[in-house]
Symmetry: none
Subunit: 213 residues, 4 copies
């Protein structure tokens, strides 16, 4: 579960310190990226001594990996809780779209993290073994839903689950991730709740519209 750490905290107090560092690091990394993040700042935000950061996480890069894993795990946890497998296909897809859009909107720091990690060509994620494992159940579910929809005649044939999932995530991720440049260019307030609601409706419309047989 943990990134390689030199010291495994045993006491509750130590565990609390570790968690505070992790939270602070998430905030700092999401705001400034890996290169732009400051170790001093993370320690300060965490109300911890810098030395603790090194004791628990090894170094800045390992801390990055730990943050990344925690972020992925958090999202997948919520996503799994949806249990869309049992819903009618259209409803299942709509929920998946809405969840992704909303999760992304609620967690811009996750989006920022992913973008940064891609800048590094996923070099740090590659160190992780746990993350890929999180996604295979999701794909299974999605595949099932799409097949069921096709069998019931409400979805087009042969929609690829991986493409579908990438599209679903893309519709929200790009909107949130690039919100600021988009706002600068189109001059609109994409952060407003109303705008997010509109994007949510549009995204559902696109996915279900596309899936129509």
């Amino acid at each position: 579960m943990d990134a390689p750490s030199r010291t495994i905290p045993r006491s509750p107090r130590a565990e609390a310190t570790r968690q505070r560092i992790l939270d602070a690091a998430l905030a700092e990394f999401a705001t400034h990226g890996l290169a732009g993040a400051r170790v001093d700042e993370i320690a300060a935000r965490a109300g911890a001594n810098k030395r603790m950061l090194y004791a628990y996480f090894g170094n800045k890069e390992d801390l990055w990996v730990a943050v990344l894993e925690a972020a992925y795990a958090h999202k997948r946890n919520e996503e799994r809780a949806l249990e869309v497998g049992d819903l009618p296909p259209a409803e299942a897809m709509a929920r998946l779209v809405r969840f992704n859009l909303r999760y992304t909107a609620r967690h811009p720091e996750f989006v920022a993290l992913l973008n940064q990690e891609n800048l590094h060509r996923a070099a740090y994620l590659a160190r992780s073994e746990q993350v890929p494992a999180l996604y295979s159940p999701l794909l299974d579910t999605l595949r099932t839903v799409l097949r069921r929809g096709a069998a019931e005649g409400v979805f087009r044939q042969e929609a690829d689950p991986v493409q579908a999932y990438i599209t679903i995530v893309a519709l929200g991720h790009f909107y949130i991730s690039n919100m600021h440049t988009l706002s600068a260019i189109f001059g609109t307030g994409l952060e407003a709740e109303a705008a997010i609601e509109a994007r949510e409706a549009h995204s559902v419309e696109v996915v279900l519209g596309w899936l129509r047989p």
Copy 2:
């Protein structure tokens, strides 16, 4: 046209130096981000003296702005050359989707740049006056195409051009931008020409599928 520069190059030789710096900066910034980029490295790649970088662009941040503007201008130039306004609506949309997908695939550095700039909440793009101006003709064209499609009965009514454009870009951008984390999770191969072709076909299918009346 240019970012605020302290020295305006007058000779062709100086102009060439300035361009080499700009190119080198694009590569370095795209690979490492603003904070991660090294000014020394940019100068070295450009085969120029570091001092020239400051003479022509002021400082690292202003250079970032200049790179950003150049990148946007380059994409919009190509996009404008499509002249989709005169095509049949479905063909116009398909071309726009394909172009964006392909441009994005051909220019991952542009994608990286945008992601970084969004990390900065578009603070640097906000300094630019030229970029927003590039996009209003595009929106006009898109609006026209959607209306014409609706009038001809081949498109659904009331598709919003801004939402549509964001979706079009999102389908390719997210795929390319997050290619590495996606590969790490779903297994590799997203960079292959065949995979990009598949994504291209999927994207066109999604947009046209959605737009069906």
Copy 3:
């Protein structure tokens, strides 16, 4: 007491490091001025890491202010210890003149510092709140002495204490401050103890001669 510092040294060891930096800075600044001083050189002279300089003093300019304040405080401390307020007026004035001449001769670095600061139009001293406060007791004392001398009939009437103090300092300060150009012009020897003694006698003679009723 201290210039604005980022890190307040808590241990005696840290305090010692801070003091060594301050001493080294005084020497370097006095020799080369603010612009000419080298931060590396200061750290090296102090036997400290350059980073500590920034931790304790913020930056070069703030270090300059700290040095300035320490220098003023040091001089005023010695001057205050003279307790001239209780002496007969002529004796009090003579002591003040002698002290200033001798202090200046013993501390050419203080003279150099002041000259540099005036080049900056006292922009850095203006940041200090403590220095002006050091001088108001002195002025009070001087005013009292001059009045008492006048009342006792040994001094001329209505000698202005501020003008008097400026003159007292000027007689020694200019001699020491411009010693090198004066030596170049009038021939050498102004640094010799005998020459300083002669200047001391002359200065006392000028001030007491002037004050005669």
Copy 4:
């Protein structure tokens, strides 16, 4: 007459350029000192190309020497024009005091230059042969005046001309040179014409008061 220059300007146009550089350098050096002065800035102020500066003056340090010599020569020229040798002794001394005070007030850049040069222990002035020669006639005159005053019974015996001259200059020089720190400390407007007038009167009073037999 000139500092060592690589190219001796022959045309009037070149001579004009040279003079503009010299003037610009005086202003820049006086404001920022030798180390703080910027060669670019001097060239810009002079409306000249930087290369010309090097052609005419060799380098920054040689330019400093040239500026220094010009400044000394200028002052001595005015001082010589006083022709105090023929005046009644008290009047002669008063004029000398007033002139020095006023010249200094009118030319703070000269004061700044001297202070800087003393920071360098007059290393650059030592290169000059012309400056010392300027001062021997002045000393002769002063010696004569003091002797005459003593002989006529209006001055004290055995006043040393060198000490006297240093004191005369000191009274004004220190006031002007340290005007900014003094203002910061005593909180008064020493730059005002009224203040300078008061200082002038005080200075005359001090010198003549002292010289009384």
